[in-house]
């Protein structure tokens, strides 16, 4: 059973929330829709849930038109960002709500409803809480009640809006693993919306990256991290930072060095963006080797060393990240100028509208560490 979303468009006075969005969700898949606020991810969720209608486009489930179905009959479970638990009902009444409001022909017997509520509460590990009111629960417990309530109607698609958005950092991290396991055991097709990269990358089978109403990239967390499709994807997922590079012919010019790029069709591009990730800025083994970087500041954070660097002629600092071990091995005594290499670079050529015409990821020729993207050759001025 698959959900085929094609060419969805949604506009609110003057603001395009969804711009030609197409996406296929496989059976039992756990998909994250990731993007900053205003990227259209919540609009997509609301349309799937039936709380909003698109201006154009279609949503099919096994060939059946989902948009023609009223939200009541859509069989889509939605977990709201703030849970939207009914405050005047107990936990059990909340969970039973979807079954109790069915037309009487389809309504299960009272005993059956009771059994299924008990079953669901056991699954979300809230057995003893059936008679509490939502106000008497912690944030994480409320979230699980909301999940149980959405699952009670046996939905064929489960939607979660910022599932951890309203929780404390610690609870959030704990619940992530729990929800991933929960999905694995239930196997229900699920889609969740989040603005938190870690959350999306850590939990989802596949990530849909959205920006300004468009899908920037769809892929597994690894794919997006390794091969970001757009400068936005690179910045948002891989913490890519801009370098002042230029492409001339089949060559990348950067800090007076030149790198050959094979088959890069970005010559008549409007703009070329070169990105480097903090972890791809590596320390040279010999001082004086590689690119000169002025160390602005240094922070030691739980096993990693984070530094702000001014590389060569740049006047904006970029961030680098090393392990404590590498830092201890390579830094000179009290030097504030160090040598660095770039281990990987992403290059994007885009047109005026920001569409990517060509991209290349430059990796080191062999995997031994640390190896710079090379061979570098100094160009005589």
């Amino acid at each position: 059973m698959a959900i085929e979303i094609s060419r969805l468009r949604r506009q609110f006075d003057g603001f395009i929330a969804l711009d030609d969005v197409s996406l296929t969700i496989g059976d039992g898949e756990f998909v994250a829709v990731l993007g900053p606020s205003g990227s259209g991810k919540t609009s997509l969720l609301r349309i799937l849930a039936g709380l909003d209608q698109p201006d154009a486009g279609s949503v099919l489930r096994d060939g059946q038109d989902l948009l023609a179905l009223d939200a009541r009959r859509r069989g889509v479970g939605l977990v709201f960002q703030h849970y939207a638990l009914f405050p005047h009902m107990t936990v059990a009444q909340n969970v039973a709500f979807g079954l109790r409001v069915r037309p009487w022909r389809l309504r299960p017997k009272t005993s059956a409803i009771k059994a299924s509520v008990e079953n669901l509460l056991r699954k979300v590990e809230l057995e003893g809480f059936a008679h509490r009111y939502p106000a008497q629960l912690s944030g994480g417990q409320r979230q699980r009640v909301a999940l149980a309530r959405a699952l009670a109607i046996e939905p064929r698609l489960l939607l979660l809006d910022e599932p951890f958005g309203a929780l404390d950092a610690q609870v959030r991290v704990n619940l992530r693993g729990w929800l991933r396991e929960f999905h694995r055991s239930f196997g229900i097709t699920s889609l969740f919306v989040t603005h938190d990269q870690d959350e999306a990358l850590e939990m989802a089978d596949r990530v849909v990256l959205m920006n300004r109403g468009r899908i920037e990239q769809i892929g597994t967390p690894e794919q997006i991290y390794r091969q970001p499709a757009t400068p936005f994807a690179s910045r948002f997922i891989a913490r890519g930072q801009s370098l002042p590079g230029e492409v001339k012919g089949q060559q990348l010019h950067l800090f007076g060095h030149v790198w050959r790029i094979e088959n890069f069709a970005g010559n008549d591009a409007h703009e070329v963006t070169v990105h480097v990730r903090p972890e791809d800025i590596v320390l040279t083994s010999l001082p004086g080797d590689g690119l000169k970087a002025k160390l602005l500041n240094l922070r030691h954070v739980a096993g990693t060393v984070r530094a702000s660097l001014l590389v060569e002629s740049m006047d904006e600092p970029i961030e680098a990240e090393w392990s404590e071990r590498d830092w201890a091995r390579h830094h000179g005594p009290a030097d504030d100028v160090i040598g660095v290499h770039f281990q990987a670079l992403s290059v994007f050529a885009s047109d005026r509208e920001g569409r990517v015409l060509a991209r290349a990821t430059l990796h080191p020729p062999h995997a031994s560490f640390p190896v710079a993207v090379g061979p570098w050759r100094r160009v005589e001025a």
Binding site: G50, L51, D52, D70, A71
Partner: protein, 291 residues
């Protein structure tokens, strides 16, 4: 409204997604029903006042409100309001300052007492004052010995008005100041401001629109109070008759004249509501604690 129409109306009010044709119809029905209620219950009586006031012509109207007794009533009403409203304004500010910046025993009892006059019948309020300040009241002989007349005189009218309008300002200020907290006042304190400086430079500017709002409602009620004032005034024509009492007496004698005087009060009401709406519209954010 029949059962089916009611269901359709209910269906309309909680509709989601694409509104259907029948839901739109039900919406219109609901709005019209509400307009009918408001028109019948509120607009008609308001119109009736002015219609009755001008029934015998403009000349008669002007003549009626220029009667010496009526002018005396206007003066008395203004005098009572001029004393009672500032008293209540100060009371509201003091009560709000005390209730929101300090913790002390009996605070919730104090809050209940401040609200109490709202739920007491004005007639009972007036009667209570007579029991204390009247000739046979608790303080009656003491007041007589010192030659102070409270009941059937101006002080009684003021007391009754203050009692009935007591919660108006305090009730506007307390929730607002509670929501704003004491942080800014404490910041001013650490910066070296004195108590009055904190009050005039920090607190007052933050609550000024809520204060105006409360004073406005307090004033409308003060000028229009009938039951409590009726009991304590003795309604001596030209001496202890406020405008509402004058309306009452004229009503027994000269219908149209009563409405002419009533129209003055109605005009005050409309004006009050107009200014109130304006304040809500321009300064709504400073009135309400949760916006």
């Amino acid at each position: 409204m029949g059962g089916g129409a009611l269901m359709a109306a209910v269906a309309a009010v909680v509709s989601m997604g694409r509104p259907t044709w029948s839901m739109r119809v039900a919406r219109v029905v609901l709005v019209l029903a509400a307009l009918a209620v408001l028109g019948w219950l509120l607009v008609l009586p308001l119109l009736a006042i002015f219609a009755e006031a001008f029934r015998q012509g403009v000349a008669f109207y002007l003549d009626a409100i220029r009667q010496p007794d009526t002018l005396a009533a206007v003066r008395l009403t203004l005098t009572v309001a001029a004393i009672a409203v500032p008293l209540n304004m100060v009371f509201g500010l003091a009560a709000a300052w005390s209730m929101t910046h300090f913790e002390f025993r009996g605070k919730s009892l104090l809050a209940a007492l401040i609200d109490l006059p709202f739920s007491i019948s004005p007639v009972v309020a007036g009667m209570m004052l007579i029991l204390v300040y009247g000739k046979d009241g608790w303080l009656g002989s003491w007041l007589e010995a010192h030659n102070v007349q409270v009941i059937f005189a101006l002080p009684g009218l003021v007391l009754a008005t203050v009692l009935v309008t007591l919660p108006f300002v305090a009730r506007e200020l307390i929730p607002l100041m509670q929501a704003q907290g004491s942080e800014q006042e404490e910041a001013a304190l650490t910066l070296g401001a004195g108590g009055w400086q904190i009050f005039f430079r920090v607190t007052l500017p933050r609550v000024r629109w809520a204060l105006l709002y409360g004073v406005l409602l307090c004033n409308a009620r003060a000028m229009g109070e009938f039951g409590a004032v009726y009991v304590v005034s003795g309604h001596l024509r030209g001496i202890t008759n406020t405008l509402p009492l004058q309306v009452d007496q004229l009503y027994q004698e000269n219908f149209s004249a009563a409405f002419a005087v009533a129209s003055l009060l109605a005009l005050l009401t409309v004006l009050t509501l107009g200014i109130k709406r304006f304040v809500e519209w321009r300064h709504g954010g400073e009135l309400n604690a949760n916006t």
